[in-house]
Symmetry: C2
Subunit: 374 residues, 2 copies
């Protein structure tokens, strides 16, 4: 299901092949977020053109809109959106824990408010597995209990306990639901490690999840206010415990430098809504660091967003034109900067892999870091 | 500058070649609207892919945002937006007469409120010509005074008088500003016929404009509440007076049936924001007539928007998926339906031209009309 093809000499960076029922994908990779069945302002043609070979959607949101009836009729999310790549789904826990829709949770499951209808909904881990199988994604996530960064250690300890109880129930149900499925037709299931910035909680959570032998392990609960150092310390810890032959997915991380750091620790999979959201608000990734395209100094600039980028946006449009479109809040501008930022990350990881193969990953990472120092 | 290559036998439909400084374009053609330097939710790559070989922008809006300084630096709107086709500009009269920004007008020019800064601005016909030359479009329009449909005949008569005074001043200034320009490097200038639904006013306006010998003639002031019959009666009248060897642009018309009717009367050029605006709100052009994609009955439909359409949207996505995206107000949905509606019109006119060449245009027009009967 996962095997490593290359290892860096100086760091724990690695290249691997992850086999899913829809095809094999080389790791590491970055997934654009497609919460509702599309990446904002991108078509699946755009995603394919930029080389995004996997995306992640939100199972909870999809089960409400367009709804499981439609997704089942189409044979799942991949066919519904006509995407040739690999479809991941998150349980939707991330959305469920938004303060606007979260009501309560206990060992049995989560109660939240349907954001579309206002109705109360109760979801068990078992039901969540059924939903993700109906959506027919290629890789599913366990239902997890996501503590907030500002929560007390006691709250986070509770969340870890619930996450582990739910993980066991998810795994059992997922195995049962797929027991008659051929091995190569099975949806994969990843366990999610929680525990905030507390090493003992993260360690405990990792060890307990490993007993359930998931297809892969996700490190969740980041991007919520912790420092990069806090995050990377936890990543290092988890990776020191996790088995080498399982893919590791660092959830919610889309910053170029953080991605490279996490790759150097042996993380394989990434996603984040930040690169697309930032793009729409004018923060652009370039080979020279972040560019704030809304700044007045770019008003007359004939330069592309990034001279060293070979995406169609950089080959076709000036900073001046893109700035004008974003200033006027035009969808066309959002399309173009979104494409560039996502292409940048695809290309960054492509370069990272080349450098891993040549055993020069560290040097590459340091170079990118220097450009992103602000 | 314009010559006719084919004539239909039964109607006044014709195919011609219009030569501009940026290249030659076959008529009839439909121009997507690119008011602010982009067609909403379309990139210039999309426009080129769908075969849109000309677009129309708004000179007044462009002169305010991004402003003439930027446009001059880039060598004009075509290079600024990196569009390979032909750029038309309207004077901006259409926007100026919006009740939100119009203040007053007299024989000297128009006073309006800058929609961005709130400042009062006074524009003369001469200044408008300078603006359109700075924008460096390939085809410019005279500053015209656009009466509203609900205005009295007296108001409209006043508007015609102003339009004619301004047309003369525009032509004089435009000739003067380009007198040292080589013939094949000159921006073309079209006069605009006003007069509402009053035949005597339209006739007078047409005859007076013809004395000024414009490069082409636009029929303006439609799409404001008049019936199709009222509109086509005026089109027929104007065309009966206008010389054969000048291109005729029916402004603001984007309905498939109206376009074909106008082609049958010998109109050559069209534009409208309606096809893109309607698309975003779920009204789709198809070979079987209009489709309201938001209707619940399309919720589970695996069919493309139009089985007979070969655009990439119809080859890739279902009605169900597109409906879902539009219902969720996703930019991706707006991109896809906008592309389809504009492609539909490009393809409709391509088919119209084939039928003119075969002398079978009337039959084709009647067939399309039958499908659009509601």
């Amino acid at each position: 299901m996962f095997h490593i093809t290359h290892k860096d000499k100086q760091t724990n960076a690695r290249i691997g092949l992850l086999k899913t029922k829809k095809g094999t994908i080389e790791t590491p990779f970055f997934m654009p977020v497609a919460t509702k069945g599309n990446t904002k302002f991108m078509t699946t043609h755009d995603l394919e053109k930029m080389g995004a070979k996997a995306i992640i959607s939100n199972a909870l949101i999809l089960s409400l809109r367009p709804g499981l009836k439609i997704l089942k009729k189409f044979g799942g999310i991949g066919k519904f959106m006509n995407y040739s790549g690999i479809n991941f789904t998150d349980s939707g826990g991330f959305q469920m824990y938004s303060k606007f829709i979260y009501i309560s949770s206990d060992n049995r499951g989560v109660t939240f408010r349907n954001p579309f209808s206002g109705e109360k909904l109760f979801i068990t881990p078992e039901e969540n597995m059924k939903i993700q199988l109906s959506i027919n994604s290629d890789v599913a996530m366990c239902l997890d209990s996501m503590p907030m960064y500002e929560h007390s250690k006691k709250d986070i300890e509770e969340a870890v306990k619930k996450t582990l109880i739910w993980a066991e129930r998810c795994k059992k149900e997922h195995d049962k639901l797929q027991k008659n499925q051929k091995q190569n037709q099975k949806q994969l299931l990843f366990g999610i490690i929680q525990g905030g910035i507390y090493k003992n909680l993260r360690k405990y959570c990792t060890q307990e999840l490993m007993k359930l032998d998931f297809d892969g392990y996700s490190i969740g609960g980041f991007g919520l206010g912790e420092t990069i150092k806090e995050e990377l310390d936890i990543v290092k810890l988890c990776k020191s415990i996790l088995p080498e032959n399982k893919p590791v997915y660092l959830m919610g991380i889309g910053n170029p430098v953080e991605i490279l750091e996490a790759i150097s620790h042996g993380c394989d999979i990434f996603d984040s809504r930040m690169p697309t959201k930032n793009a729409r608000h004018g923060t652009i990734f370039t080979s020279k660091g972040k560019l704030r395209i809304m700044q007045k100094k770019f008003q007359l600039s004939k330069e592309p967003l990034d001279k060293n980028c070979d995406c169609y946006v950089c080959k076709s449009y000036s900073r001046s034109y893109l700035r004008h479109l974003l200033m006027q809040d035009e969808g066309t501008g959002k399309i173009l900067v979104t494409f560039h930022n996502l292409y940048y990350l695809q290309n960054l990881i492509r370069q990272a892999k080349e450098h891993i193969k040549k055993g020069m990953f560290s040097r590459f990472k340091e170079e990118v870091k220097r450009n992103y120092k602000e």
